[in-house]
Symmetry: C2
Subunit: 238 residues, 2 copies
């Protein structure tokens, strides 16, 4: 459910959400955890990317996942096969995770495990290219995914998500030969709304680009821990 026209109330809601996000981030910082917030349209490949990431990085980083879905634990169950804690949050009618929901996930994680033993918490948001971009959950960086099948124009038509993203993955590049898209044009459109974003082209099917993504995740996790409270890790990683 949404409210769109009561700007005063909307600002208050976003303020309240921001306070919750700051509280969550304070917990992460206290425990030396880096948190990434993964966002995209439904079916752009967030869960597939997480599967590859958990498989590739589990020897070097201790990870947990906070998995947001309106209903079901289908994605959570897929990720549990990788032996990491997966906290499932069902948002019900809500189209995005907010900081209060994620706070519930963090407290469950801290109750069942030693939170200070984790390096990285990966939040998979509800599949939605619009709403999650406005609700910070306590992450240190926002990661957006855009599938090649969604078309070149999406960064221009849904600018908020692309403007907010610290890292953007163009996914399913293996399908590029079968759809009428120009990857350079997608990149140009992304850069038009967000010149500073870190950008990768990936395919979880062929493996294209995944090593660069893994390197970025490793870097930001290491740097985040070293600089907690003193600097923006994104300034160091870039």
């Amino acid at each position: 459910m949404h409210q769109t026209f009561d700007a005063a109330l909307g600002i208050n809601l976003l303020h309240a959400n921001q306070e919750g996000a700051d509280h969550n981030r304070a917990h992460f910082d206290e425990w030396g955890i880096t948190c990434l917030n993964l966002m995209s349209s439904p079916g752009a490949g967030k869960t597939a990317l997480l599967e590859k990431t958990l498989a590739a990085l589990s020897f070097t980083l201790k990870m947990a996942v906070i998995e947001g879905d309106m209903t079901t634990e289908l994605d959570a169950d897929r990720l549990r096969q990788y032996g990491v804690p997966v906290i499932a949050i069902n948002t019900g009618r809500s189209c995005h995770l907010d900081s209060r929901m994620v706070a519930g996930g963090i407290h469950r994680l801290a109750h069942e495990y030693d939170p200070a033993s984790f390096d990285l918490v990966l939040v998979e948001n509800v599949g939605n290219l619009v709403c999650p971009a406005e609700f910070e959950v306590g992450e240190h960086a926002k990661v957006a995914l855009l599938s090649v099948t969604e078309g070149e124009d999406k960064p221009l038509k849904y600018p908020i998500m692309f403007r907010e993203a610290d890292c953007l993955l163009i996914t399913k590049t293996d399908l590029a030969p079968y759809v009428d898209v120009d990857l350079d044009q997608i990149e140009a459109n992304v850069r038009q709304v967000n010149p500073k974003v870190t950008l990768f082209r990936v395919s979880t099917k062929t493996g294209e680009g995944l090593d660069a993504w893994f390197d970025w995740v490793r870097s930001i996790t290491t740097v985040q821990r070293a600089f907690t409270g003193t600097a923006n890790p994104l300034d160091v990683v870039h």
Copy 2:
């Protein structure tokens, strides 16, 4: 912007939206217009479907489009090439069209044209598989699109949209050989949340299934006009 937890306020907003939707529908009924509301994730092919529909049906139906996008008139400009009136609505930060925005579109249409001369108004909603499903805009039927590239599990994970749809199009079937999806499983998952939905498999690239979709649009438009105010056209078309 959204509000999610204040259930009382949420209900009021939806009530207000519903009143506006009923008002819009009363206008459509008065003018003998059928209105369809097209909804899907970004990039599932709403605009491409509209292009084919405008091209195929313009000899038999007088059509107009109300085109919702957060920003830009990219889609509206694509559709204007087909010689029909296209009213562009930019929703700004809002993730869906609501009945008030569509009322503005209807009034612009009625101001510039004789509204009673139209048979069919096609509303293209903002690309979002979650939020538009909750906000009726005055349509006589809801049409949802799901691309094969989004995966089989989406009807289960985003049930509201699939439960609300009167007609569901599984799009981009030409890409099915290149993605790991079972079309029968998609259909089974759709039927699980909505056994009565009318379902088509289409590809705007190969033309598969489009004739069946055109027939459905023609039928509902004819029946809607004949039965305005006396019956639910969907009961007759099925």
